[in-house]
Amino acid sequence: MHGRPRMAPNPEDAAASAAKSQKLRSLQSQFLSFHHSRTYTKEALEISAKLLEINPENYTAWNYRKLAVEHCVKESESDPSSVKSIFDKELKVVESALRQNFKSYGAWHHRKWVLSKGHSSIDEELRLLDKLQKQDSRNFHAWNYRRFVAALMNRSIEDELKYTENLIENNFSNYSAWHNRSILLSELVKKKDQGSSTQDVLSEEYNFVRDALFTDPDDQSAWFYHLWLLQQTIQSKAPLLVSSWPANGADLRVSGNGCLGGASGLFSRLSSDLRRFPLVLFFNQNVEGISSLTVTVEASFITSKDLTWKSLSPKTSRFGRVWVAYLDISSVDLDYLNPQKVVVRLGHCPGIMSSSGLPLSKPFRLEYTIAAKPIETKSSGRHENEIFQWKEDDFHNSEGQLEESIPRLLYTRAVEDNDEAAASRWHIDTMTEEINHVRVLLASSDCKIGKLMLARLLMARDDMLSPYANKMAHSEEVLELYRDLIRLDPPHSHYYKDQSSLVLMQQLVSSRDSLLKHCFCYEGIKSSSIDGPVCLRLNNLSLSRVGSFEKLLWVHILDLSDNELHSIQGIEALQLLSCLNLRSNKLTSFSALEPLRSLKCLRALNISYNEIGSHPIDTCRYLVTSPLSHSAEISWNRDEDLPDGVDVENYWEAFLVFKDLDLVQLDIAGNPVADERFQSFLVKITPELTWLDGQKLH
C-alpha cells in the first residue's frame, strides 16, 4: 500500500480514463441539475449513487444525499421500517464508494453522519472495518472511524486494547495500532485512579514494547511508542517548583533610582526603571492554573489580587513552565533599614495542575525582602554618551566580588534534601530498568534509535534523582552518545547537536563553581561605582541551543557570542536581562528573536554577524505569531499610528520583535538584512534607540 512508485500511464489507460471522465461528466451534469431543482426521486438518487461509486470524492454529491435523506425521512416519518431502509441504502452507497477508494473523506464522513442519526444497526460496522483494515492496516480514516464506532457501541477500552494487541502481534511495525493503543491507554489511565494503577499499566506496556524493541531494534514504531511511555512516566510525576526569582530567602536592594541589586544601578541608561519588578516562577513541567487565586502574595504594599500572572510559553496555551507577574513598588517608600517582607505561597489551594492533571507535589513557600540600597558613594546620574561595549578587556574575573552575585541559595543542599521524595521509587526503578535493557540491547546491536533513547532515559533519570539539576551524574556519557550519533546519523546531526548543547548547558550550571568560571565583572562603564556589574559569559562554546534557564533567572548581562545558536527559545525566562550579546551566531530570521519580546528590561542587543535575511523565506515564520493569528500578544492594529514611511509589510517579523522592545543600543551589522533601508526602518520604530552599530544616532 505504501511506497509504490508512480507509473506513467500507457496509451490504453489514458484512453480508458478519457472514456471514464466522459461518463463522469455526463453523470455530473445530470446530478447537478437534480441537485439544483431539489429533485429527490428514485432516479435522481440512483444518478448520485452512480456518480459517487465512480468518484467518492464528490463532496457535493454527499451533501445532496444528506438533503435527500432528510427529505425522504420527512415524507415517511410515520413508518420506522422505511426510515431504516432509507438509511440502510445510504450505508450501501458508502460501502461501494469505499470499495472504490477507502480513503475518501466524504464517504467516511457520510457514514458517520448516517450512523449518528441512530436508525441503523452498528453491528456490521466492525466487520466492514476489519475488511478495510486488512487491505491497509494503517488507513487512518478507518482508525478514526473505529474509534467513533467503538464509542457508539460502548465497546470497553479493554476490548479495543485487545484488538490493538492482536494487530501489533501480527505486525509490530503497525504504527497506527500502537498509536491507537496510546490513545486508549490515556483514556484508561484517566478513568482509573492516579497512582499505582497507572504505574502498573505503564510497567506492563514497557514489558510489551520491549519484546518488539529487541526483536527488531531498527523498527521505529516500537521506539515511538517507547518514547510515548517515557513521556507518560515523566508526566505521571507531580509538578515541582524548581526555581524562582527572587529566590527564597533573598534580600533585594533597590537603588535610589529604582535599579536593582548590585548590578544595574550603575549604568542607568541601560537599565530600566524597576519600579515594577518581576516575580518569576519556574516549574519542572508545564502547568496551568497559575493565577491570583492559586498564588498568594503577602506583603504590606501589595495583595495577591493586584497581580496578573502570565505564562512565558511562546505558544498561546493555558500551559507553561515559566510564569511571571509584576509587582508594582512605585508607591512604596523603601528604606534600607526597614526591609519589606514578601511571602509567596502556592499549592495551598487547588488549581495548579500539570498537563496530565496532577497537582503540585507539595505546597511551596518563598520569602524574601526588598530594601533600599545604602547611599551610594558615586553619583549615578544619566550619562547620555554611555555605550555598552563587549570588549574583552572590560571583563574581569574576580571571584571575591562575584561570590555574592549568584544567588547562593540555588545550590544549597537544603532545597534538594527536602524534595528527595518528589520522584517515587517506582519512577526511578522504571527508568533504571529501561536504561539497563537499552544498554543490553546496544551491546548486541548497533542501533541509532537505541542510543538516542539511552541518552533520553539517562537524562530523565538524572532529572528525577535531582530535580534541581545539581547532580547530573551521566552528562558525560550522554554527551558521548550524542557525539556518536552525530557521526552515525549525519542527516539528523542538528537535532543531536541541539540536545548536546542543552546537556552542556546543564553541566555548566549544575554547580556554583562551574557557573562562577563563566561569571565576570564588567568594567566598561566609567560612570560605575566600585563594583562592576556581573556578566555571564557563555561565548565560544559551540552551543546551538541554550537551556537550563531556571538557574539563570538572576542574570542581567548575558554574552552568548561566537556560538552556533539558531534559536534562543527559553530565554524569555530571564526577565532581568538588560544586555544580550548574540554576535556571530546562526540566527537566520527575526522570528528566531521572538522570545525577546517578553524581555521588558532589555536595552542593549547585539545580533551582528548572524544570518538574518540570508534566506528569502523565513522558514520559522509559521511557528510564530503572524498578523493572521488572533493571539492576545499582538495588540497592534493597522489603524495604529505609525511614523510615516514605516515599511511594516516588508519587515513584519522585525516590526513584531522591535516594536515591543525599548532598545537603547542595537548592533545588527553583518546580517544580509542590514541595509540602509532597514536601518531607517529601525530608527523609526524604536524611538529610544541611541546607538546603532556603534554609531550614535541624532
Partner: protein
C-alpha cells in the same frame, strides 16, 4: 479369473505408467497434457500406491502384502520377462490397544502410508498444484503450530516469523534479538536489490551451516531451532563425522522456502499446510487432471511380465494379469517393481539414477491414533525432536506430525500422530521412534496429572489406541527405457519428489514442458474463498 479383468482398448500407448503414487501421477498429468496417449495402471483398488491414505485394516494389509504372485502365463515365453515386486516395507509392528473403539470408527480414518508429510506453502508441489489447477480438487488445512523439543523434553513453539518471535514467551530478549538478526541476514542475502557487501560471502556459503551459525555467535538453542525446526535438517550437524552436512547455501535456501511460505495464503498463517482427507488426495488430484487430458485409468490391474524384443532385448510392452498384452515405447514403474536390468537398458543407454542425498537406505515410520491432542487447543501441529533431545546418542531428527479430525482423517475426539526418522537399520529406526513415542506418552501423563489432581483415579484409558511402526526402503528414481520412480523419501515435504518426477519426465520427453505453458486462469471471485479451508487463493 480372466473374465474379472476388463479388456483394454487400444493396445498401444505412448506411455504406460504402473503405480499411482505422487511422482507417477505428476508424470501422467504432464505427459497427457503434452498430448501423449497414456495408460495409467495400478494393481491396488485405490489411488496413491505408496502415497495413499487408507483405513487401519487396509493399511495393515498394504504394508504386509509383500509381492504379487507371478502370473502363471509368464512361463517359458522367451519374449517375456516376468515382473516381480519387492517389499518396500519390513519389520511391520501393528498393535491395537482398543480394538472396539477402532472398529466402531474404522471407516473414518485416512492414514497416510508415507507420513509425516506436509506442504510448504511456497514449495514446488504447491506450484505444481496451482499450475495444473488441481487446487480445485483439493482442500487444505493449516498446520497451526510448530514445536521443537528443547532441554528437558519441553516442547517449545518455533518462533518462525518476525511476529512469532515478538510474541514468543520462551525466548529471552537477547535471544529474540539474535534470532531476528539472523533472519535479517538471510533476508538481505536473498534480496536481489541488496549489493554484494550485505550478502553472505561465497566462502561462508560453502561452509557448513552449523559453523556459519556459530560464527555469527548464535547460542546453541537458537542454532538448534534454525537447523532442525526451520531448515529441517535430519542429521546431527554438530558432529564432526556427520555424513550429511548441511551447507550454509542449502540452509539459507531452506530458510527462504520457509520464510516465503509463511503468509503466502491468507487462510494459512503458518508455513505448512496439509491436504484434507489425507495425502492420498494429492496423487488422486493429479490423476483426475490427467484423466481430463485423456489419460486412461485402470485400477486393480496387476502387471505380470514385460514384453521383450527377442532380437535386441529391448522393452516392447507389458503383459497384464488379464493376459492382455499392451505396447508402448516407454514404461514407468513404481519403486516396488523389480525388473532385470538387461530388460531395461541397452549398452548405449546408461541408467541415470535420480538420487538426491540417499545416505541412509531406510526410513522408519510410525502412526499412532491417540485420544487427545499433544497440546490442548491445537489439533494440527508439528513437533521436531532434534538430535540429542531424546537420548545422548540420538544422531537423527525425529519428526512428529499430529493431525486432528478437522483434516478429515480421523473421527472427532481422536488424533493421528505420524512419526519418521531416517535410519540405517530397523533397530536404530525403531529405537528412535519408540523413544519419541515414550517421550510423548510421558509428557501426556504429566500434563494430565497437572490438570487433575486425582489420587485414586480409575485406570485411564490408554493415550495411544492404535500403533503401527515399520521400516521403509528408500530408493531413488531410475531412468532407462523402463523408468522407475523414487520411493517416498524421508523429507517432510514433496520438494525432492516433484524434482525427481520432473527430471524423469524431461529424460523421457526432452522437448515437452513439465508444467503446462498457460497458467491457470486467475480465480476471479475473491469473495468465494471459504473462511477456513478451501481452494488455495494466493494472498
Amino acid at each position: 479369473m480372466t473374465e474379472a479383468y476388463p479388456q483394454i482398448d487400444p493396445t498401444t500407448f505412448d506411455l504406460i505408467i504402473v503405480g499411482t503414487g505422487l511422482p507417477e501421477s505428476l508424470i501422467a498429468a504432464a505427459a497427457s497434457a503434452a498430448g501423449k496417449s497414456v495408460l495409467h495402471l495400478d494393481p491396488n483398488p485405490f489411488y496413491g500406491s505408496h502415497f495413499a491414505s487408507l483405513g487401519p485394516d487396509e493399511l495393515s494389509a498394504f504394508l504386509s502384502s509383500s509381492s504379487f504372485p507371478p502370473s502363471s502365463s509368464s512361463g517359458e515365453d522367451p519374449a517375456t520377462v516376468s515382473l516381480t515386486t519387492r517389499p518396500l516395507y519390513s519389520n511391520v509392528e501393528i498393535s491395537s490397544l482398543a480394538p472396539e473403539t477402532l472398529e466402531e470408527h474404522a471407516r473414518k480414518f485416512n492414514l497416510d502410508v508415507a507420513g509425516p508429510r506436509v506442504l510448504f506453502c511456497a514449495d514446488r508441489a504447491i506450484d505444481a498444484i496451482l499450475k495444473w489447477s488441481t487446487n480445485h480438487y483439493l482442500e487444505f488445512k493449516a498446520i497451526d503450530a510448530n514445536f521443537i523439543c528443547v532441554e528437558n523434553g519441553k516442547l517449545m513453539r518455533v518462533p518462525d516469523s518476525r511476529s512469532a518471535i515478538f510474541k514468543d514467551k520462551n525466548l529471552s530478549l537477547i535471544e529474540k534479538n539474535q534470532l531476528m538478526k539472523f533472519l535479517k541476514i538471510v533476508q538481505r542475502h536473498l534480496d536481489p536489490d541488496e549489493d554484494a557487501s550485505s550478502k553472505v560471502s561465497q566462502e561462508d556459503l560453502e561452509s557448513p551451516f552449523a559453523e556459519f551459525l556459530a560464527k555469527i555467535k548464535l547460542p546453541p538453542k537458537i542454532k538448534s531451532i534454525i537447523m532442525y525446526s526451520i531448515a529441517m535438517a535430519d542429521h546431527d550437524q554438530d558432529v564432526e563425522a556427520c555424513k550429511n552436512i548441511l551447507k550454509t547455501k542449502d540452509g539459507i535456501d531452506r530458510l527462504a522456502l520457509f520464510q516465503s511460505s509463511v503468509g503466502r495464503f491468507p487462510n494459512s498463517p503458518g508455513a505448512l499446510i496439509y491436504p484434507s482427507y489425507g495425502q492420498g488426495e494429492l496423487p488422486q488430484a493429479f490423476c483426475r487432471r490427467a484423466a481430463v487430458k485423456r489419460c486412461l485409468y485402470v485400477l486393480r490391474m496387476p502387471v505380470v511380465a514385460l514384453l521383450i524384443d527377442e532380437e535386441n532385448g529391448q522393452y516392447r510392452g507389458i503383459r497384464l494379469a488379464s493376459g492382455q498384452d499392451l505396447f508402448s515405447p516407454k514404461l514407468i514403474l513404481d519403486p516396488s517393481f523389480v525388473f532385470p536390468s538387461q530388460a531395461g537398458s541397452s549398452p548405449e543407454e546408461p541408467v541415470h539414477v535420480f538420487s538426491e542425498k540417499a545416505v541412509e537406505a531406510k526410513v522408519a515410520r510410525g502412526i499412532c491414533i491417540t485420544r487427545s491432542s499433544l497440546k490442548p487447543d491445537i489439533s494440527n501441529l508439528l513437533v521436531v525432536y532434534p538430535p540429542r533431545s531424546l537420548y545422548p546418542e540420538q544422531d537423527i531428527t525425529v519428526r512428529v506430525l499430529q493431525l486432528g479430525s478437522t483434516s478429515a482423517i480421523c473421527p472427532p475426539g481422536m488424533f493421528v500422530l505420524y512419526l519418521s526418522a531416517l535410519c540405517n537399520d530397523a533397530t536404530q529406526g525403531k529405537k528412535l521412534l519408540n523413544t519419541a513415542i515414550s517421550a510423548i506418552e510421558v509428557s501426556q501423563i504429566s500434563e494430565r496429572n497437572a490438570g487433575v489432581k486425582n489420587e485414586d483415579a480409575e485406570v485411564e484409558p490408554p493415550f495411544i489406541i492404535w500403533k503401527a511402526i515399520f521400516i521403509q526402503e528408500l530408493s531413488a528414481g531410475k531412468y532407462g527405457s523402463i523408468c522407475s520412480t523414487p520411493s517416498p523419501d524421508g523429507n517432510l515435504n514433496y520438494h525432492d519428489l516433484v524434482d525427481a518426477a520432473e527430471k524423469l519426465f524431461h529424460a523421457t520427453y526432452p522437448d515437452e514442458a513439465f508444467f503446462p505453458e498457460t497458467a491457470s486462469p486467475e480465480n476471479a471471485d475473491e469473495d468465494n474463498c471459504p473462511e477456513d479451508d478451501g481452494p488455495l487463493e494466493e494472498a
